[in-house]
Assembly symmetry: C3
Homo-oligomer: 153 residues x 3
């Protein structure tokens, strides 16, 4: 089954990719690799989410926020490549979690994106990943994700 078909079957309605915030691109391709800029969760009721894991947001919130940021990564990939079917595999995801010094559950947050990628891409969505607590993020975002995917020829 095609990825675009699967994402429809899953009932996932990708928003348009958000614009870059400044003098850079959402993604740059080199050879078969597409490097994707850092993306945050999309606004809820027009308000961009703001706050830290371990304070304003719970682990469950974080999971949803990472899934939301993951949807923006998918939207960027579709915009850049024309179709998600052109993804040969997801190579790497890195997660920045706006977190308190005491926070320890970064993986459970990043799972929101990882689970999304495996739902959508199946085995091709199983990626290398890393995550850490940032002391602050742009606009107070709770989560930012960046990634690298391999494009099929």
């Amino acid at each position: 089954m095609s990825i675009e078909q699967r994402i429809r079957d899953l009932g996932i309605d990708l928003p348009p990719a958000t614009a870059p915030w400044a003098n850079y691109a959402n993604a740059v391709r080199t050879g078969d690799l597409l490097f994707i800029s850092g993306k945050g969760p999309t606004p809820v009721n027009e308000r961009p989410p703001k706050g830290r894991l371990g304070a304003e947001f719970s682990v469950e919130d974080g999971y949803r926020l990472a899934r939301s940021a993951g949807l923006d990564l998918l939207a960027v990939i579709r915009t850049e490549l024309g179709s998600l079917d052109r993804v040969a595999k997801v190579v790497e995801i890195q997660g920045f979690v706006n977190a308190t010094p005491e926070f320890e559950e970064h993986p459970q947050v990043l799972d929101g994106c990882s689970d999304l990628l495996v739902e959508v891409f199946g085995d091709r969505g199983i990626h290398a990943r890393s995550v850490f607590g940032a002391t602050s993020l742009r606009a107070g975002f709770p989560v930012i994700l960046k990634g690298v995917v391999e494009v099929s020829a």
Copy 2:
């Protein structure tokens, strides 16, 4: 116009690349990609800048500091490749900003590097990027940048 000609026309005088701090290289090439180590801003009056965004440094300071670190990235690229004209494109920049928990203007800081890259490389300088607040950086540096560029054959 060649990039080396353009950088002269812009009046940018690249300092020599700073040395790695330990048992590693300023850059490593694999295939057409050059991975560049983290670089900080160069000293002012022989004093390396030290402090955090949101405390000792303003956003305007941060912009200049990111531009300074970007100049060191360019110096590394020139040293590794012999000429900036061998850069096919800038693929990715990641910025670490030494910041307070309240700081929210990381993109405006990183713009100092992004604007430099687009001045120097034009369309070839439009990169993917990400940025986050670090709780501390080596030697108290306010900004560290790393990057990946594609080399023309």
Copy 3:
């Protein structure tokens, strides 16, 4: 001399690679590049190390902890490729150091991994690298490392 022979001569006994914590892989290969997930130091007396550089851990502790995490990176590489002899070169290492805001000696911590890689791989182990202070890491880990290596055909 082969790398596998050298690592035996050095008396380094690699532990089995630790398992991914969730819905992702220890490493993903794309072309000649192997992207490796973030890895922390292995447990001491069955207790995973927990704490921050600049507080619970000294720089000397950090050096040992980064070496320990580097051993897990090596274990992942061996598991993925079958043999460390298939590493053409180490391309990049990124270190996340769980650190206080005052901590400034991140390079000396990361050296624990860098020195290990050069011991094991010689010139092929000289990598690009970057390091920053994270405000928190999963499970309170003091250090997490991720990397990219080039695989020989």
